[in-house]
Assembly symmetry: C2
Homo-oligomer: 201 residues x 2
């Protein structure tokens, strides 16, 4: 290999290392992040569950409210319920949205889920609170976005929150610390493949 | 609420329910997916770890090879190593990339990691194999992308694979069943906040 290629490579690697070192320097800034996972692609809820796994690895406690899941069994629920000392997992979506087609009932379900979320947001023992598919409830105006934002901002300073769901509201994005859009480049349902256990749910 | 609004809502919810029902109809198609998480945003590896949690919830076994992680402690490693019966977790990245700035050593590390990956890809007991940050090794041509694609395609038919890392190669995207691009809309490092334990690692 030529010296030039090696030198260019070394420079690139040094730049990456400097960036990484800077990121790693202060491992805990003490400032809880408001994170939003949105977009039409996959991975919004799944990345939130990955964060839960990381938090559990460090010994932290975590809260979860699922806003729109139905009664079906999911891998995440089955798995995280194995850790009752570390995870408070609340599936509030029974009767919500596509199962009922009843707007009044959906609003009541969303409001009940938000009450549960507020309990978690007031619990200083939690490192991370995941509000899974909250964006759907906001999108259909089942909850008032300004009230939700106010409640989120009133949480303990060190608490991280991750909100998932497509079509995140601009009011939420405006106050978030981190917003990631999952975009679908290629999707297997397009090719006639079905949702699969242990991958999609 | 007016009847019109309720009717429009019901139509929208029925459409959503039909889509969801179709997705749920066949829960296990028997066709393993090749999934790629790429893009500059967060959530690529994290969503892969969330899939692992889901798979564990269903009682499946999972393999992981991390291609570029250094020696530092990560939440995912600490957590998933609690499940030695279900998770084969291999951190192969020691000495890789930004820690060494030595291309020959990086190539050797990538090749060793790929050998480990091939072992997992031949293991029919695994439901899912996560090849974390493989895209980085491919991007720098530490591994031959055509050989990697051929090895991936030779895996057992039912095995799911998830490859993560920014700058996924076109050759890999071409053969993938599902490609999601995580795009950063807003990033806290921009605002001077640091990587945080239990969230970023």
């Amino acid at each position: 290999m030529s010296d030039d290629i090696n030198r260019a490579h070394n420079e690139a690697m040094k730049a990456l290392k400097a960036e990484r070192d800077e990121m790693m320097r202060e491992k805990r800034a003490g400032h809880g992040l408001l994170m939003v996972h949105t977009g039409d692609g996959k991975g919004k809820s799944t990345a939130a569950f990955g964060m839960i796994a990381r938090a559990l690895g460090w010994g932290f406690e975590v809260g979860v409210v699922q806003f729109i899941k139905g009664k079906w069994k999911t891998g995440e629920k089955e798995f995280f319920r194995r850790f009752p000392d570390q995870v408070r997992f609340h599936v509030m979506g029974e009767g919500f949205t596509w199962e009922t087609q009843d707007r009044a009932r959906d609003i009541a379900a969303a409001e009940a889920a938000w009450e549960k979320a507020k309990e978690l947001l007031a619990d200083t023992s939690l490192h991370l609170v995941v509000l899974d598919e909250l964006n759907i409830a906001l999108r259909y105006d089942y909850l008032d976005v300004n009230q939700v934002v106010a409640d989120l901002q009133a949480r303990p300073r060190e608490m991280h929150v991750c909100v998932t769901g497509r079509n995140a509201k601009p009011e939420l994005i405006a106050v978030a610390d981190l917003v990631t859009e999952m975009q679908s480049v290629k999707h297997p349902f397009d090719a006639g493949l079905k949702a699969q256990r242990g991958i999609d749910f």
